[in-house]
Symmetry: C2
Amino acid sequence: MDEARRGGRRRPGLKLLLFLHASLFLNVFFFCYLVLSRHQPPPGWARSAARDAEAVAAIDCSGHGRAFLAGGGLPACECNACYSGDDCSQLLLDCPADADSEDPLFLEPYWQQHASTSSIVLPGWQCMSSQTMGGDFISAELDRHVRLLHKAAENAITDGKFILFGSEVAELLHALVHALSADNASSSPACLVASAPHNPFGRRQHECIGIRSNYAKGSVSPATKIIEYVTSPNDPDGLLQQSVLGASAVIHDHAYFWPHYSSIPAPADEDIMLFTISKISGHAGIRLWWAVIKDQKTYQKAAEYMSLNTMVVSCDVQLRVLKLIRVVIAEMGKGGGIFEFGYKTLKTRWSKLHKLVSSSNRFSIQPLLPRYCNYFKRIRDPSPAYAWLKCETEEDKDCYSVLKTSGITSRSGTLFEANSHYTRLSLVKTEDDFDLLTMRMEALLSKELIASS
Amino acid sequence: MDEARRGGRRRPGLKLLLFLHASLFLNVFFFCYLVLSRHQPPPGWARSAARDAEAVAAIDCSGHGRAFLAGGGLPACECNACYSGDDCSQLLLDCPADADSEDPLFLEPYWQQHASTSSIVLPGWQCMSSQTMGGDFISAELDRHVRLLHKAAENAITDGKFILFGSEVAELLHALVHALSADNASSSPACLVASAPHNPFGRRQHECIGIRSNYAKGSVSPATKIIEYVTSPNDPDGLLQQSVLGASAVIHDHAYFWPHYSSIPAPADEDIMLFTISKISGHAGIRLWWAVIKDQKTYQKAAEYMSLNTMVVSCDVQLRVLKLIRVVIAEMGKGGGIFEFGYKTLKTRWSKLHKLVSSSNRFSIQPLLPRYCNYFKRIRDPSPAYAWLKCETEEDKDCYSVLKTSGITSRSGTLFEANSHYTRLSLVKTEDDFDLLTMRMEALLSKELIASS
C-alpha cells in the first residue's frame, strides 16, 4: 500500500513536472518570438491601407473625374475640366476646352484596368535611408529596368552607355551643359540651340542668345560652344528630326519617341538621349527624366555636377517608377501593353480630328506621313501628342485668339518661336477633354460652312 | 373548358412575360453597372499589393536590417552597416563604425511599430496630373498639415506667413537668394555667410567668398548684399544660435529644431525659416524641405523663380509626406508620439556617450546645458543629432584620423570650418551603428587608461 501511495504521490509530481516543462518551453518560445520579431510589424499591417485606398477609389465620380483623399481625410472627386459637382456629373456649359495642358491623362483608363498589378504599398519605414539599394542615390534596379524597357520597346540602344537620372529636364540640362562646356574657366559656358518650331520649356536658361541666325550665317564666335538640341518627335509638330547645325555636341530629346506617338523606324543611337516617365506611363505628376549618355567622361562630369548640387531623385519616386516600368514591360509581353492602348486611343482621336479639319479651308493640321514602325512591325501613321493647327486665312493672324474666342484654350505658336498663325492643340488629355475640344471645333467649323454658303 | 384552356395559355404567357421583364431589367442593371463603373477598378484590387508588401516585410533580417524587393522582384535583406549575410546575422569584425552618415534611422523602430497607420497605397493611376489638388503644383493639404504640425510641436509661428516647398535645400536657397537679391541687374547677387563651425552642405554655390572676416572688419563692399545663414540648433555642435552679423537678411535653418534633438524654448518666429521632413520623421530618402516666409514679396519672387526653373515637388512625395505628417500629429495627441520616442532614444545614447567620455582627458564633447522646453513643459537636456568631439591633446592634431585608425568613421571638423582637433560623430543611425560606435570608443578609451596607468 505504501508503494501505491508513493506511486500516487509520484504521478501528480510527474504531471506537475511535465506541465512546468511545457510552460517553460512556451516561455522560451514566446520570448524568442517577441525578441526575434521585435523588428517585424504585425501580420496584416498593410490591409487597412489597402482598404482605405479601395474605399477612396470606389467613390463614384460619374466617369468624369477621379477620387482622392481630400481635407480631413475624406475622399472627394477631382473632376475633369469643365465638370463639377460632388460626383462630377455636371457639365459646365461655357467652360473652355483645355487643349493646352500636356498631361497624358489619355492613359488613365489603362492604369485603372491594371489596378491590382500596378499599385504599390509604401510601408511607414520605407525610404528612411538616403542611400537606395545600389548606392550613389540611384537604384541599380531602376537603371536595369529602364534598359529593359528600351530594349523591349526597341526605341533606344543603351548597351555600353550610362544612364543619369534627374527629377526635371532642367536639372539634367544644367549637368549636361556643365559637362559639355570647355574645361577652362575663361571661356563662356556652352549654350543650347534648337530649330524652330520648338518647345523651350526647361532650357531657357541655357539658350544661346541671338545664336541661331548667326550660326546659319556662320558668324558665331568660336569661343562659344554650341550644343544643338533636337526634339524627335518634335514638340509641337510631331515630326521626326535630325541634327542639322553641325554643332560639336547634340542632345536628343526623345520624350515622345515611343509607340503611342510615333513610329519607331529604328532604335535611337545618339550620344546623348533624354527620356521621361511622364510620356511613357502618363504620370506627369511623378517627376523623373533620364539621360542615356555614350561618353563616360561626359557622364561622370554630369553625375558629379548633380551630386555636388544635391540633384537627387527621391526614393519614393524611384520605387514608384520602378513599379510602373515593371508593369509596362510585363504587359507588353502579353500583347496588351500600354503602347497598343496609347496608340489606339490617339489614332482614333487623330482620325476624328482629320475628319473635322479636312473639310475646312480656314484651318489645317500637319500632314501625317505613314512610316514603317519597328515596334509594331508594320507601316503606321504617326499619332503625335499635339496637333499643330494653322489658321490659313490672312484675317486669322492670331490663331490662338481665334480658338480662344470659340472656347478652346490652345498654346500659341509664338511660344514655339513660330508665327502666330499657328497654335498647338493637346490631344493627350482625358476623353472628356477631347470630346469637348471636338465639340468646340465642330461649332467653329460649322460657322465657316455657314459663312461660305 | 375553353376559358380554362385560355386561362392556362394565358398563365404560361404571363410567366414568360414576367420572366422577360425580369431579364430585361437585369440587362439594364448590368449595362448600367458596367457603364457607370467602367472607370472604377474591381473590388479588392489593392489586396495583392498589400500581401506582397507584407510578404517582403516578413523576411527575417535578424533585427540587423530591413527587407526590400530586390532584383527580379525577390525580397532580400538590406543589412545595417557591418552586418552581412542573407539574414544580416553576421557581424563583420573589422568593419568601421559609421558615425558619419546623417540618416535618422534611429526613428525606424517607431515606424515599424506604427506599420498599419503609416503605410500608404498608391494606385496605378495616382499622380498622372501635374497639378495636384490645390493648384500650383503644391497640395493645399500638405501646406495645411505642415502648419498643424508646427502648431502642435509649438516650434514655429506660421500664421500670416507663406510656405514654399522644394525637394532640396539647395533649390530653396537658389530661389531665396534670387528673391533677396537687389532688383537691378548690375549689382552682384546676394551671398550667404554663416559663423563657424557650420555645415555648408547645399549652399556652397551661394557662399560669400572671403566675406566673413571682412565683414567682421567692416570692410565688405556695400554693393554685395549679405544674407546671414543661421542654423539653430547648429550642425555640428547642437547649440541654439542667434543671428550675429547684423545683415539685412537672415535665413534660419531650423532642420533640427524639433523635440527629438533640442528643447523648444519658444516657437521660432523669424522672417525666413527652413525645415525638412528628413529630421522630423527620419525619412532621409524622401526629399522635401520647406521655407516659412514672412514677407509676401519675397515669397512671390522665390515661388516664381522655382516655377520658372521647374523646381517641382513630385506628387508621390507630397502624398507620402502628407501621410507621415498626419500620423505624427495623430500620435502626438495620444501621448506616444515620435518626439517622445526620438528624445528618449537620443537621451539614452547621450547618457552612454557621456559616461564613456567623461572619464577621458584625451577627448571631450560639447557640454549640454539643460533648458526649459515649451513642448515637454519641463527642463530637459538637449539631445543633439551629433556629438562634437574634441581631441584635447597636442599630438591628436587630426581627430578624424585618430578615430579612423580606431575603426570609427566620423566627419572631420575641417569640413565645418573648424580646426582638425574637432570631429563630428553622428548619433542618429540605427541601434547597431550606435552600439558599434560605443564599442570602438570603449576600446579607444581603454587604450588611454592603459597608457596613463
